[in-house]
């Protein structure tokens, strides 16, 4: 039985029993390379739910995107490892009531990066994608090619330390991966850090120079839920309106620090970016820093205090004490 069919059965059951009023998951959309969020309220429609490597959206985002929809309702939500952490982080931050949510964990094989998938098809349009596990089949007009999953995996999923959702109410599929060592996850951070300052600056300008300020990264991010984001204030105005580095960097760096200790590195921001900014690198850098300093990661324990909202006497304080 595939995870997809288990998910459909589970959603159908939870809805018909009345355990939940709504199940958020994924369904096929217009594009074969990306499943789209699904909102199922009728058990009859549970059959549209799917799960595979194209389910890259983090459904946790919907809890804070439109609060009218979710407050006080029992909601079932299909979650990958990172998605579960995002929900738990929201619980920790008093944005979601844990008892109102049924976390339907899905053992995650890692999600695909649609840009890498497109590159693997050499620019030809992909009309059909079949996630076979270790391999991914791509088919279009006059071609069919099978690529290794590893080669088309999202950066966020390379070396993912928590692929299997924890603290969930139900777990579908067989947890199949050992937690990866931190090494692979940190590799690109270390490479970046090893660059001389001028090289880091150049790489930063190159990446963030692609930004068009559409805020797709912020808006798909479950951790970004300020009622009024600082970029949306105009009295006072904190940030200019251009795509010059002073403006784009202020947006990205502030967002980056604002989600420090809260970002679960799901990579939804990077996958959402229409111009392909490598957004994950800095989020990862901060997560690595947080882990080193506080020995904690976001969204691991809904009962804990948020990392940035707690203080221990034995924390490193060299920035004050010198």
């Amino acid at each position: 039985m595939t995870i997809g069919s288990e998910l459909r059965d589970t959603a159908r059951r939870l809805l018909s029993e009345g355990t939940v009023e709504l199940v958020i998951g994924w369904r096929r959309g217009s594009r074969p390379t990306a499943a789209v969020p699904a909102f199922v309220t009728d058990p009859e429609e549970a059959g549209s739910l799917v799960f595979d490597g194209t389910c890259g959206t983090n459904p946790a985002v919907y809890f804070t995107r439109d609060r009218r929809q979710y407050s006080g309702r029992k909601v079932g939500v299909a979650v990958k490892g990172c998605d579960a952490r995002a929900v738990l982080q929201l619980v920790m931050e008093n944005q979601v009531v844990r008892d109102d949510v049924v976390l339907i964990g899905v053992a995650c094989p890692g999600v695909l990066d649609r840009r890498r998938v497109a590159l693997a098809a050499c620019g030809r349009e992909i009309l059909e994608l079949e996630d076979r596990g270790a391999e991914v089949m791509l088919r279009g007009a006059g071609f069919e090619t099978v690529v290794r999953r590893e080669d088309v995996l999202s950066d966020s999923c390379r070396g993912c330390p928590h692929p299997d959702p924890g603290s969930v109410d139900l777990l579908l599929g067989t947890p199949r991966r050992e937690a990866a060592s931190g090494e692979e996850r940190e590799r690109r951070v270390r490479e970046f850090e090893a660059l001389p300052p001028a090289g880091r600056w150049e790489a930063t300008l190159r990446e963030y120079g692609k930004c068009i300020r559409c805020y797709a990264c912020r808006n798909v991010c479950p951790a970004c839920y300020c009622e009024t984001c600082f970029v949306d204030q105009n009295d006072p105005r904190w940030i200019g309106g251009t795509c010059e580095p002073t403006d784009t960097l202020i947006f990205h760096l502030i967002r980056n620090l604002h989600v420090a200790g809260r970002c679960v590195e799901c990579g939804a921001c990077a996958r959402a970016c229409p111009t392909g900014v490598d957004l994950l690198l800095l989020h990862r850098k901060v997560a690595v820093e947080v882990l080193e300093r506080f020995r904690e990661e976001a969204g691991m324990d809904a009962g804990a205090r948020p990392i940035m909202a707690s203080f221990r006497e034995d924390e490193r304080q060299e920035f004050i004490m010198g």
Binding site: G29, S30, R31, A34, A35, V36, P37, F39, T57, V61, R65, D66, Q69, R115, A118, L119, G123, E125, L127, A141, I212, R213, C214, Y215, A216, R218, N219, V220, D232, N234, R237, G240, G241, T242, C243, E244, A268, R271, A272, P274, T275, G276
Partner: protein, 352 residues
């Protein structure tokens, strides 16, 4: 207009070099990460004319993400000098060229409503009016393409000065406007007369592309139909997945809403015009704090209404050329084609 000419594929580099000697030339350029976007070129190096669509539409060439309208100090206004020379754009698809032609209705001189006092945007005009646009016939539409829903086609010539067809070993260049014909005259040493076979091959490519597009649905009366469904609860479900980012509107060849901001320091500063999006809450938030479109449902509806109801009412055409970028970039898979079909079939079901 003068007749079609032939440019050997091997001469494209020379052709673009010669054009670039006397003007700014823009063309689709492939980056190492696989993206293809319009960028300034000096010749054929890096130019990728084969990609169906660039990631972003070419509107930014004429209506940049952000531009300085003028600078000022206590002495008064310091105008921004426009470079002023000619521009050529190579490799534009018909949907994008039509998009620019639609924007010219808003910013330029392309449309005069009876009785209206016409405002022409000098910033737009200073670029668009200087440009000669080479359109490229689409050989094979993508599954996200729907130009034929709104009167376009893979070989549409609206907004195009010279139409180019990729014949493999050569390009067939057909002048569409006098401006295009004149530009071709300046490079005629690189061109040879087109044969009847070239013209025939080009026609076949256009026909094949045309027939590859699924037939368009009947959208007759869409403008009024949308007015009729304004209050329908269906919008709630339609808007549910939308996360309110501007990926769709910013990659769209026709969305043109903007914000104006002054950046001031001690009486010196600059006035900026930057892309804005009806998907953003701040777009309509008033000084009092009241927001007439506070809900995502209202904003999604606005985007649809503006494109397919308000704009045709004001400017006589749909504000959509069916390029499909909004469908392919949306992080949550919002497909505006399905929205229109759902609203149309819903309205039909109720006998409207």
């Amino acid at each position: 207009m003068s007749t079609a000419v032939r440019l050997d594929a091997t001469s494209l580099d020379r052709f673009l070099r010669v054009l670039a000697d006397a003007r700014e030339v823009f063309a689709p350029v492939a980056a190492t990460d696989g993206r293809v976007e319009f960028a300034r070129v000096r010749g054929g190096e890096g130019v990728d004319s084969s990609r169906m669509l660039t990631g972003l539409s070419p509107k930014g060439l004429f209506f940049p993400e952000a531009e300085v309208l003028f600078r000022y100090d206590r002495g008064g206004i310091l105008p921004v000098e426009s470079p002023g020379g000619p521009i050529a754009v190579w490799g534009m698809r018909g949907c994008d060229a039509r998009g620019l032609a639609l924007l010219d209705r808003v910013f330029g001189s392309a449309f005069q409503k009876p009785g209206d006092e016409r405002f022409e945007d000098p910033y737009w005009k200073s670029r668009y009016d200087r440009a000669t646009i080479f359109g490229t016939v689409c050989p094979a539409p993508l599954s996200t393409c729907f130009c034929n829903w709104f009167g376009g086609s893979p070989s549409s010539t609206a907004g195009i000065d010279v139409q180019a067809t990729d014949l493999g070993e050569a390009w067939l260049l057909s002048p569409v406007t006098a401006k295009g014909a004149e530009l071709l005259m300046t490079v005629d040493d690189l061109l040879s007369p087109a044969t009847a076979r070239d013209v025939e091959a080009s026609r076949e490519i256009a026909l094949r592309a045309q027939s590859a597009l699924p037939p368009p649905p009947s959208l007759e009366g869409l403008e009024d139909l949308l007015t009729g469904v304004f209050h329908e609860p269906a919008w709630e479900g339609i808007a549910a997945p939308c996360v309110q980012c501007g990926a769709c509107t910013f990659s769209c060849p026709t969305c043109h809403c903007f914000d104006i901001q002054d950046e001031d320091r001690n009486g010196r500063g600059r006035r900026i015009r930057a892309w804005d999006s009806c998907m953003f809450g701040i777009f309509t938030r008033e000084a009092s704090g009241h927001n007439p479109r506070a809900l995502s449902t209202q904003r999604v509806r606005q985007r649809v209404m503006h494109k397919y109801s308000y704009f045709p009412g004001n400017y006589g055409e749909m504000l959509c050329t069916g390029c499909g970028r909004c469908v392919s970039v949306c992080p949550v898979g919002f497909d505006i084609r399905n929205v229109l079909l759902e609203l149309v079939s819903g309205a039909e079901g109720e006998g409207r």
